[in-house]
Amino acid sequence: MIRFTFDGRALTAKPGQTLAAALLDHGIKLVGRSFKYHRPRGILSAGVEEPNALVTVGTGGRAEPNTRATDLYVYDGMVATSQNRWPSLSSDLGSALQLVAKALPAGFYYKTFFGPPKLWLFYEKFIRRAAGLGPAPVEADPDRYAQRAAFCDVLVVGAGPAGLIAARDAARAGKRVILVEQDAELAPSLLRDPQEIEGQPGSVWAASVAAELRAKGGRVLTRTSASGLWDDNFICLSEKLVEPGQVPQGAFTQRYWHVRADEVVLATGTLERPLTFANNDRPGVMLSQAVRTYVSRFGVVPGQRVVVATSNDDAYLTATALRQAGAEVVAVLDSRPSPAGQDSGFAVLNCAAPVSAAGGKRGVTGVTALIDGAERSFACDLIAMSGGFTPVVHLHMQAGGKLDWDDAAQAFVPGATRQNVRTVGSAAAPAPAETFGALGPAKQAFVDFQNDVTVADLDLAWREGYRSVEHLKRYTTLGMATDQGKTSNMAALDRIARREGMEVPQAGLTTFRPPYTPVSMGALVGLATGEHAQPTRRPALYDLHAAKHPIWLNAGYWKRPRAYPVGSETLAEAGLREARSVRQAVGLCDVSTLAKFEVQGPDAVQFLERVCQTTVGKLAVGRGRYTFMAREDGLVFDDGTVWRLEDNRYLLTSSTGGASRMATWLSYVRNYLCADLKVSVVCVQEHYAAIAVAGPQSSAVMAELTGAEAPRHMSVSETGIAGVPVLLMAASFSGERAFEVHFDARHAEAVWRAIEDKVLQAGGAPYGIEAMELLRIEKGHLVVGPDIDGRLTADELGLGKMVNKAGGWIGAATLHRPDFADSMRKQLVGIEAVNGGSIPEGAMLVRRVGEQAEGHVTASGLRIMEGGSIALAHLMGGHMRHGEELYAHSPTRKQTVKVRVGSPHFYDPSGERYRD
């Protein structure tokens, strides 16, 4: 015996029972409350289509709200709780809503709650609290979900007899097969309706087929739902490795499969349709096949006095099963005129259908039927109903398949498909049945059980003009509940068709979109949770930095040191100290994340002069220069440096943040626009670690390290540090004499340590991004993102003088558009606080507070040695406005600072400090 609790009550279950089966076994009929009116609800089905019996299962971070009791196998220690009721399931105050239900027809909320939005916000609070089924989760999920790819020749969905045979045929033909079944057992229909197949009892036969599939290398997955069938037969499967709320036995709680199949075979079976009559939602009104499942598979008889109501032959099997289990079949109401089941020994009434059920939260007590036009009542405690069978065509439709109308079955069946998908078994050929519309008072006849949509609601919507089936759904919320209309869509179409006087296919059809059954969000994510929610890229020197306990910066995917605080230093204090050590002595900084490309070949210059807006061809071997790149629309999108290492070999660097964009762009230009050039472009971003060494002592440090005179500004030499060959490039981002040392990242730590030793000896320190920002802002160097924001031309950024006058660079052709000539476009300027205060980064530039913005602060820093707030900014017509006074105004931070516009180069504008 398995022990579990339901609403705190300790209960037991037999192995293999679903929660629904176990509850019925204990005579518990009331399981939940409906969404809108809080009507008492029991168990309608025995499968994934269940609209009523939803519970929260599990506790803490494992609690899963809205779990279908019919699709949940009881495990030892399971804690299940009913939902959407207060204080308890049997006395739910929300059920008072039923009293005012008459004033709350479909779409009532569109017609009231007028007034200012704040008022709606007030009403909404109560509506939201009343709505929403299960409790909101609070804790993080302690379990893990796997994601896995699989490939096969044939994927079979549904391990009923048709699916098993299709899978076996494929396996015997030598194909790779995957067979999936949402149930815990293979061929669940054979457990409901035991029969012999190929001389074996059904379930034995099913097990032997599965064994054969496995022996032939196939995969058989139970408790696995094919939730989505996408383009080119890409199928998503969600496999429950343990039940909802259960502690996993292995590493994972669920596995989400991404399958690519040459062929998909859908053996998805059918869903039984409810009948529509008054109070058809009462506990004790169940689908006929579900009743049979509980009786035959789970050994539970859900009622002792049963009325079977049907429009087809299948329900007679239910009557028989009930009789065999000892229940009394009070009557079989058969809507069809011709005698059926006459020889069954049941009290069969033809032209008979239920009109209204009696009873309340404790279950039905009787049913009134219309028999050949006359009403007659029966006492009963269970109504088993069957309105025919709807093929599960969801996946077929997701794959772009069309539907055909099967008149005999009154059902849509799979039609032509675009993808290699076919449907077999009852999903392709459902059993004949008739439909006869709704009976009884329309306001009590439920179509969508969970969302409380009645026939009256459908009629109202239709009368108000919401006649397309999609309007009807959206206006009434039919089919929008957690069961996604599995038991309600056909009844709604039937109702529209009857109102319009047409056949169901003309009434329309709703489209099915993934997922077929709801999929755990955790499964969609796999292991990408918590700190692994997105990749983290670590530079080669990551461990070395980590040992210094820096303040880290998440720069895109990268982890970079922002500052190395000493003692109790704040970020700002550490950044300023580090910046000052660069200004006064020397510092070293990890710049390994820079984008780097090796460009080689006789046509390398041609290539580079297409990509770079500056000249490149004039560079001598051993020299480098600052450069920048325009998009095809003429606006600057990145910058960097280009170095001529050999005759036909260049190194191009560009921004960290733009690295992958630049890699794609260079590849596009090379392969699409310049396919005939003799050039090779290789991304070496990760191959080269790079360390910037900056400050007045830097050339001395480099000379000491390399044993040779350091190269002059914008020159490069190939030398060695700590025995490691390095490219020593004299370039400065800080405004000081500075170098970038590029070298094979395998030796990153050795080179860093060697340089750091000398830097420390020279009175310097390592510095992070914070100091780098202060240094470059004071110097007026630009950064891709805030300063180079993709909206300005080179001229506007103050780079006009460096543009290659000969043209030929990409973007030149579109730069002649007339509005670019407007002198009031934004331009890059420097600004400095005139009366003290600190210029807030991002603040708007205004002439007076209260006026419109004419620009904004892109980067804010300070004069590193002498103090005083300075910043870079984009300002309308800024180049002509040097000397003008404005306000940097930040209403969100309540700061306003008076500033003077000027050159962006605050520090050593003539570049004296680059020279030794």
């Binding site: 008459k102 007028f114 609290r129 993080a140 929610a533 629309d633």
Partner: protein
């Protein structure tokens, strides 16, 4: 138009709600209209409503190839806000937001505009500065924007992951309290009911198959329900803008791509505001029915299929779970996809076209829903006066060839680079 009110609902309680009249007619098209609007989504219907209401132009047809609101109006994540960085955008969306604030009363149809706050999270100091920049840009125009500390965010949305080792640590945020959500279908229905009551013909199941051009001027359309002459033709076709414009020989700066969204099963209230983030691409809110509504990036490749890419949705959920780990045990209930007309600067295209008699309201990328009343109002004004309204002048079709894109992200002319 019979008035909707609590009282009339109550009256219905005693008559079985039998007194309700159709919200709109189902007329056959007339031979000719002053204005033919192609597309019966929110934008087309709003334009018709404002043409009638503000300009007395009621000889108007709205042609819809399916049923009204069946395109992006019914396929979005229902977010309404005006928190944009660039002035032309925030100015326009603020105009629209002000209309939202009175829309239910104006239409006598509750569109459930819920100003619960549009919260943008910042995950780094850099994010916080960009948020402040956006907030400052809004505030100098008189638009509400409030910077939030981490503690303030924690009070507003306790369900977020505030742990310090979170992949996307929360440093703070910016909130526009007047932003929020609205009931998307109701917007189409409310505008339709109002336009219809003013005499506008809403013609469903009517697909435009070609344009009738006479001496360089569009004078009508051929449709699946016959020819309809028109004084002016206005395209409000969202993702199909390019397809419709091509009927008049026009090539637009748009590319149609799929944008997906999804909703979980409903639970009791847990997400209070609309949660967005400065450095990720997902946006999360909770519907009145309790479902957590998720949106992410567009699929970034052209498609007219209204059918998304499985992996795009997984990436959006990945980000959402990083922000709200407790969502892990909820289940994705439904996904849907819309065809968006991605313009080449991320901003809309409204106004005249080089073809006489043909006007366009499109290029909304994935920002069209919140624009609905604003663009309807201003496009109607533009049509009535045969010149762009000043607020939408920056969004003219010719801005690309002139060199004046309104590029909020600064990412240039390729939508998939955004």
């Amino acid at each position: 138009m019979a008035k909707y009110s609590a009282l009339s609902l109550l009256r219905g309680a005693f008559n079985g709600q039998s007194h309700w009249q159709p919200a709109w007619r189902h007329p056959d098209p007339k031979a000719s209209y002053d204005v033919v609007i192609i597309g019966g989504g929110g934008h087309g219907l709003a334009t018709a409503h404002y043409l009638a209401k503000n300009h007395g132009i009621t000889n108007v047809a709205v042609l819809e190839k399916g049923y009204i609101g069946s395109g992006n109006t019914g396929r979005n994540t229902t977010i309404v806000r005006s928190n944009y960085r660039l002035e032309p955008l925030s100015r326009f969306y603020e105009f629209s937001l002000k209309l939202w604030e009175q829309l239910s009363d104006e239409l006598n149809y509750n569109v459930m505009f819920s100003p619960r706050g549009a919260l943008t999270l910042g995950h780094s100091d850099g994010d916080m500065i960009r948020l402040a920049e956006k907030g400052d840009a809004m505030a100098v125009q008189g638009i509400d924007a409030e910077l939030l500390t981490r503690d303030q965010v924690m009070k507003i949305e306790p369900c977020l992951d505030f742990s310090h080792d979170a992949r996307f640590p929360i440093e703070g945020g910016m909130i526009q309290w007047r932003g929020g959500t609205a009931r998307h279908d109701a917007v189409a229905w409310g505008f339709a009911r109002s336009a219809d009551s003013q005499g506008v013909d809403i013609i469903q199941q009517c697909e435009v198959t070609s344009m009738v051009v006479d001496a360089g001027r569009v004078v009508g359309v051929e449709t699946s329900r016959g020819r309809i002459n028109a004084g002016m033709v206005a395209i409000c076709a969202a993702g199909h803008s390019g397809h419709v414009a091509a009927m008049a020989g026009l090539k637009l700066p748009v590319e149609s791509q799929t944008l997906q969204a999804m909703v979980t099963e409903g639970v009791k209230p847990m997400v209070n505001t609309v949660v967005m983030t400065q450095s990720l691409h997902c946006y999360i809110s909770q519907s009145d029915k309790g479902g957590i509504v998720f949106g992410g990036d567009p699929d970034n490749w052209p498609s007219y299929a209204q059918r998304g890419h499985a992996v795009t949705m997984e990436l959006a959920v990945q980000q959402g779970l990083a922000l709200i780990p407790a969502l892990s045990r909820l289940r994705m209930l439904r996904t849907w996809a819309g065809v968006t007309d991605m313009s080449f600067d991320g901003s809309p295209i409204i106004g005249s076209t080089p073809v006489d008699g043909l006007w366009i309201d499109g290029g909304w990328c994935y920002g069209g829903f919140k624009a609905t009343p604003g663009s309807g109002y201003l496009f109607a004004d533009t049509l009535a006066n045969q010149r762009p309204h000043e607020i939408i002048a920056p969004f003219s079709l010719d801005r690309f060839e002139r060199g004046s894109p309104v590029d909020e992200n600064g990412t240039g002319p390729f939508p998939n680079h955004r």
